[in-house]
């Protein structure tokens, strides 16, 4: 079975309170030099059958309508190799 990964991240202009909280904590833990942190979601989909263009198009649609909230999020779809 093939695996397709959909990464969903908040749009750059949207506040990411989680990422900010993580970034602010890093220096306290002794990790310097990280200028910014954004936290998003990663979906791993196990696809039955071939992952051809048609399948990817469907997954793209799925990401657009369901996995991501395109009012505030962007997403990318890729085959995991």
């Amino acid at each position: 079975m093939a695996r397709v990964v959909v990464d969903v991240m908040l749009k750059p202009e949207i506040l990411d309170p989680q990422g900010q909280a993580v970034q602010r904590a890093l220096p306290r833990l002794g990790f310097e030099g990280i200028a910014d942190v954004r936290q998003g979601k990663r979906f791993e989909l196990e696809v039955e059958g071939p992952v051809d263009d048609a399948a990817l198009a469907r997954i793209h649609e799925m990401a657009e309508t369901f996995l991501a909230n395109t009012v505030i999020e962007n997403f990318t779809v890729r085959v995991d190799s």
């Binding site: 908040l10 202009e13 949207i14 506040l15 990411d16 309170p17 900010q20 909280a21 602010r24 909230n69 009012v71 505030i72």
Partner: protein, 600 residues
Amino acid sequence: MTLDTVKHANETPDVDQPWAELGLKQDEYERIRSILGRRPTGAELAMYSVMWSEHCSYKSSKVHLRQFGEKAPEADTPGGGALLVGIGENAGVVDVGQGYAVTFKVESHNHPSYIEPYQGAATGVGGIVRDILAMGARPVAVMDPLRFGAADHPDTKRVLPGVVAGIGGYGNCLGLPNIGGEVVFDPCYQGNPLVNALCVGVMKHEDIHLAKASGAGNKVILYGARTGGDGIGGVSVLASETFDDSKPAKRPAVQVGDPFQEKLLIECTLEIFREDLVDGIQDLGGAGLSCATSELASAGSGGMRVELDRVPLRDATLSPEEILMSESQERMCAIVEPGKVDRFLEICEKWDVIATVIGEVTDGERLEIFWHGEQIVDVPPRTVAHEGPVYERPYARPDWQDALQADDANKLARPATAEELREQVLKVISSPNQASKSWITDQYDRFVQGNTVLAQPEDSGMVRIDEDTNLGVAVATDGNGRYAKLDPYTGAQLALAESYRNVAASGARPLAISNCLNFGSPEDPAVMWQFAEATRGLADGCLALGTPVTGGNVSLYNQTGETAIHPTPVVAVLGVIDDVDRRTPIAFSDEGHLLYLLGD
């Protein structure tokens, strides 16, 4: 791009300005020009446009809302005598005895909650909590009167869980018990759900704070979250325009709430109050800095000078206009004497809250805003904040009203057989409007703070406010859009009476009311008539009951295309109880007790 300074505006009087895109009408734009004696700068235009929007200026509703003041109960009535701060401030304040004052208010976040249910509802809670905090009070409870489309409509499945998760996600994270609310399903709310949020706060009389900037030399401190591109223009576009299917959906950047930041803001602000470090304070909500600076300056004495480039940003590319209009959440603005600034900043540092001195109160009369040393705003603050346009919108009883009223329940066929009767009873009790609301209320923390005396499924929510004396307050919210559509005057009174009874039935003495008036477009004379009638009914009802209106919120343009929602005035009644141990819950407590029916 050149900076549109005041000087530049003087030199280029004939530049075309996007007043229409910003939601201003031609005559409103002309009025701005005549106030200023020149064309406004881009930044000034931004400020006026958001502050003169329906949402911020109440331009259509103001003439009707005046009745709440004019018909306010006399000082010798229980409620009239209890009023410490009335309409016009962030929230009204009532005296509940023993040196305590209570502030409460309902607000709407209808349109944002339809676009992005979770964040829309969450930031609705955040906004009303900051209003209460700005009065000097510790927020102690929230409530959420909600209205959705048909329970089985697919879009309700998108909107309702998101709204509930957003209210819970934000309120639970702030540690505010949710002590009640409403859930009503009706197809009229399909494209326009109503998400109203209420917050109650408690303080001592001497802790009441007002939104005003006075005392030349006092510093203006912006504290809380950094400013980003959230909801720019959202206030005018989202709250003042109708959703129209034919136009491409307008989706300005949605505001995202950070309840963790808000919790820090609450604790930090309360500590600042405890040390008596602020002179005036205002939360940043709709219209962001435009609103906070102009309202503070307008309500105080003297003027204000702001260095806008000092505002901490999340997005360095924001223009000054955008910074003025940004609706980034979790921010407050305080006026602080110079000698207290260091301590103020220290407390903010303790709570990991960013705080920046962005300006000061001047002995002038103008609100002046600078961007890297160049002046981009020079306005009389009252003209922005308090002297916006006022409309006497035409209103007329709709021609369908008579037919609607005549079509009453007496015309319906009566059940003729036991089977029919059974069917009808089942239909009524299986209606989503009668069903248990526990799927929703179980997602809200009702125990946090350890003072909750009554919450769901009780008639009113009740919290203890003094652990030693057992003093408490009760709040209920009610509204009935179907009834208000049949008769807006009586419908508003019905909501008032129901809410009043719910408070009284729990053992508390009703003292004051707040309301959220959810209606369609004020440009429709039929809607305007509903609004006029409902406010008149509510004002008359409050006078009769001796309970003043302490504040509230008007949400207009609730409609899909041409179709308005049912007129939905939601009324919140606050009561006081001297000893919460003497509350009356709804459940039967012992066998053998008798049932009485009161009233006719």
